[in-house]
Amino acid sequence: MQEFMSTVILLLSSTLRLSVPLILCGLAGLFSERSGVWDIGLEGKMLFAAFAAAAAAYQFDSAWIGLFFAVLVAVLLSLIHGFASVTHRGNQIISGVAVNFISSGLTVLLAVGWFAMGGRTPQLQPEARFPTVVLPFAEEMRSVPVIGAVYADLISGYNILVYVAFAAVPITWWVFHHTRFGLRLRAVGENPAAVDTAGISVDWLRYRALLCGAILCGIAGAYLSVAQSAGFVREMSAGKGYMALAALIFAKWRPIPVLFACLLFGFLEALSIRFQAIDFGLGPELSTQIVQSLPYVLTVVLLAGFMGRAIPPKAGGIPYTKER
């Protein structure tokens, strides 16, 4: 019983950890896509942010400075995306793919150029990473059955960015539904002409949405390289940006469901890590690969089979021009 309990807690806490980049990216996508700008560049922004975070954290020996540079880089990439697709009304998918290509190539190039470690950044010392936050009374409560273990090992004991990610969900919901900015943002993704004729600048509104997304993306990147790991590795985002997009669609572009979709994907990933050692009788290597591919396969199955109709923001993907 004790052992089962601790397995469950381990699995769940690993789920939470693995969900964090998905949640942050999913919310980032939510901001920009609900404003009518498709954001396929989440992956690239997160990757570049992860590199910037690791490089800056190493250089300045500070996780916070790393986070700052991560956000800065994500913002710059978002501005490129915005400049191409909002200001110049280019194709949003192409511009997003460009961001992904730039990031995939430049991160490795810069890493090799600066650190000459084959595309990695140097291992970060513990001081240059985000430390674990132990919530008050976590140790004292450990002796209380069940609740103590849940509190100490499942709720307490993560780095600050994990808490930021989970706090970002209700905050995003509140911004969307209870602020002027949220109302306008939802409107501009559905009918930019309504926003324009109401005397609000469509472009500026979309830029602001992109910036909100960029900040979240930057945090996600910093989480990958400075909190979850201790340095940058090439392609370390490993498709999480695309998984977040899938979660966003699965959640039908709503903040609270985004949380649950990301938790689900995180759980599948946690499962696959936990049960890597299972042998299906196909030899150890093949079995591991099957288990590792499960989260991606299940993502496809869920999206294709269990979703029903998702209605995307109506103006999504369409650059706004005043009609003639």
Binding site: H177, H178, T179, R180, F181, G182, L183, R184, R186, A187, E190, N191, A193, A194, V195, D196, T197, A198, G199, I200, S201, K314, K322, R324
Partner: protein, 513 residues
């Protein structure tokens, strides 16, 4: 000095406004003034520059030159925000509403109180209750906008403008989507606004509305404002003449029909749309050779689906379509081959491929015929020959078969579709909204052409939301309501009777009442 005094009586004045798009002159030296407390109509053909002028006023475009004065003071209107601040409100032809928002959210959008919504909502609710009472503009504020009928959505647009304290309300073709009774309600609201001292600018192509509702009327032609006069001094005929620049026959001249054999027979037709909603319910009727049967009804009562099913564009749930007694399978190519031609309601969506040149659109749908060759290649010379023939017979302008179809005006695009469908010698012609978005001059031509076709002993089914058009052309009128045919009348029936039928009050009910 004197000029200033006279200007002060005008709440709004445009002086010498010019606007060009590239080489196209949209507004040329336009002078236009609106008096406080009046309803001012603007008429003109498509492309005459009405909408451009109003867009300049609402800050959508910048004039190349010219002045805008409000209450006699010169102002600049760089964007819609400035227009709103000057008390200008606009109800666009295509509503600018966020469909999945509540009515309240739509009204508050852009006119919020502070950064947080709850206080904006509270304030708006109070203010809107007052406005609703004052102007007969009752709307459920919590309803989702897309669930509301268009007439109510239009009320939301008017409320939006009033909530922003508009003193000058511009309405662009407001009645296109309304039932006669909804239109009456709208005009009552507009009159009340006028009596409160507000000014209303009404853009329309319906001359009857100008005559009924406006105090002053301005006529635009080819970018110029060519006349402004009290409405009382004008007649429909004189307005039409000013608009087109020549005499126009507003009445359709036609002899009584001589219907022959039944050509087209529809039995028990039922159609469900993609959502599974039954849009056409047990519809049966027939059309004889040499007659035009009109289907009247408010938009959205199943006419679109009926026409689509008859043309074979969708497979009905039940029912048969017979041509000369032979059943034809629901397939657009088979129907067309059998002699059922179709002028679709939405020429942009299914009537034409706008990025193709005229030459290709002129034979689209008939291109499988042997005359275009049996090899995989189309015979270009044949395409060209048809296109040239239509251009000269239907006076399509500019007369250039190579031109991309999107570059023709609405009226000329419609002529392309019409020519293609009529000239392939159909036994039966299905026509949807033949003159939607078409100029008065072209309307006259299209109507005449349809009558000619009838007199060649063809059967025609006409679907239109324009009651005047239905009455002018049809020999018999069927009225559709909620997917079913609720009555048949002659074109001489009173507007009241037709209006009641269109609202779903059946003839038996009318008899009782």
């Amino acid at each position: 000095m004197k000029a200033e005094i006279s200007a002060a009586q005008h709440v709004l004045e445009l002086v010498g406004v010019n606007k060009s798009f590239g080489s196209v002159v949209a507004n040329k030296d336009v002078n236009f003034a609106v008096e406080a407390g009046s309803i001012h109509g603007i008429v003109g053909e498509n492309g005459a520059g009405k909408s451009t002028l109003m867009s300049i006023l609402y800050g959508f475009y910048q004039a190349d030159s010219g002045k805008i004065r409000i209450d006699g003071k010169e102002v600049g209107i760089p964007d819609s925000r400035a227009a709103i601040a000057h008390g200008i409100g606009m109800v666009h032809q295509h509503f600018k509403l966020v469909e999945n928002f509540t009515v309240l959210e739509n009204i508050v959008l852009g006119a919020e109180e502070g950064a947080f919504l709850p206080s904006s909502r509270r304030k708006a609710r109070l203010e809107l209750q007052r406005l609703a009472k004052e102007y007969e503009l009752q709307v459920d504020l919590e309803a989702i906008t897309e669930d509301l009928p268009v007439g109510v959505q239009q009320r939301v647009e008017i409320l939006k403008a009033l909530y922003r304290q508009a003193r000058i309300l511009i309405l662009d073709e407001p009645t296109g989507v309304l039932t006669p009774s909804e239109a009456d309600h709208l005009f009552r609201i507009l009159r009340r606004l006028r009596d409160e001292g507000k000014s209303v600018v009404l853009i329309t192509h319906k001359l009857r509305e100008i005559m009924d509702a406006t105090d002053t009327v301005s006529v635009m032609r080819r970018g110029e404002l060519i006349a402004t006069a009290p409405t009382a001094s004008m007649t429909k005929e004189s307005l039409a003449e000013l608009m087109v620049g020549r005499r126009v026959l507003l009445r359709v001249d036609k002899s009584p029909s001589r219907p022959g054999e039944i050509v087209f027979d529809v039995k028990g037709l039922n159609v469900r749309d993609q959502r599974g909603v039954r849009m056409v319910k047990d519809v049966s009727f027939s059309v004889r050779a040499g007659e035009i049967v009109g289907i009247a009804g408010v938009a959205g009562n199943g006419q679109t689906e009926l026409l689509d099913a008859l043309a074979g564009n969708c497979v009905p749930e039940a029912g048969t379509v017979l041509l000369d007694g032979k059943e034809i399978a629901p397939d657009p190519f088979k129907r067309r081959d059998a002699g059922i031609a179709h002028v679709p309601e939405d020429r942009h969506a299914i009537g034409l491929i706008l990025s193709f040149p005229l030459r290709e659109n002129a034979s689209l749908g008939y291109h499988r015929r042997a005359e275009f060759g049996t090899s995989p290649m189309l015979k270009r010379s044949q395409l060209q020959q048809y296109a040239q023939q239509y251009i000269s017979e239907y006076d399509i302008r500019p007369p250039n078969a190579d031109l991309r179809t999107s570059l023709f005006s609405g009226g000329n695009q419609q002529k392309i579709v019409l020519a293609r469908e009529i000239e392939h010698d159909p036994a039966m012609l299905l026509v949807g909204q033949p003159t939607r978005g078409v100029d008065i001059g072209a309307i006259e031509f299209i109507h005449r052409r349809l009558i000619e076709l009838r007199d060649q002993n063809k059967a025609i089914l006409l679907v239109s939301v324009e009651l005047d058009e239905i009455r002018a052309l049809s020999d018999r009128i069927l009225v559709m309501f909620d997917g079913a045919i609720v009555g048949e009348t002659s074109p001489d029936a009173s507007e009241r009777e037709l209006g009641l039928l269109m609202a779903g009050v059946t003839q038996e009910d009318q008899g009782r009442g």
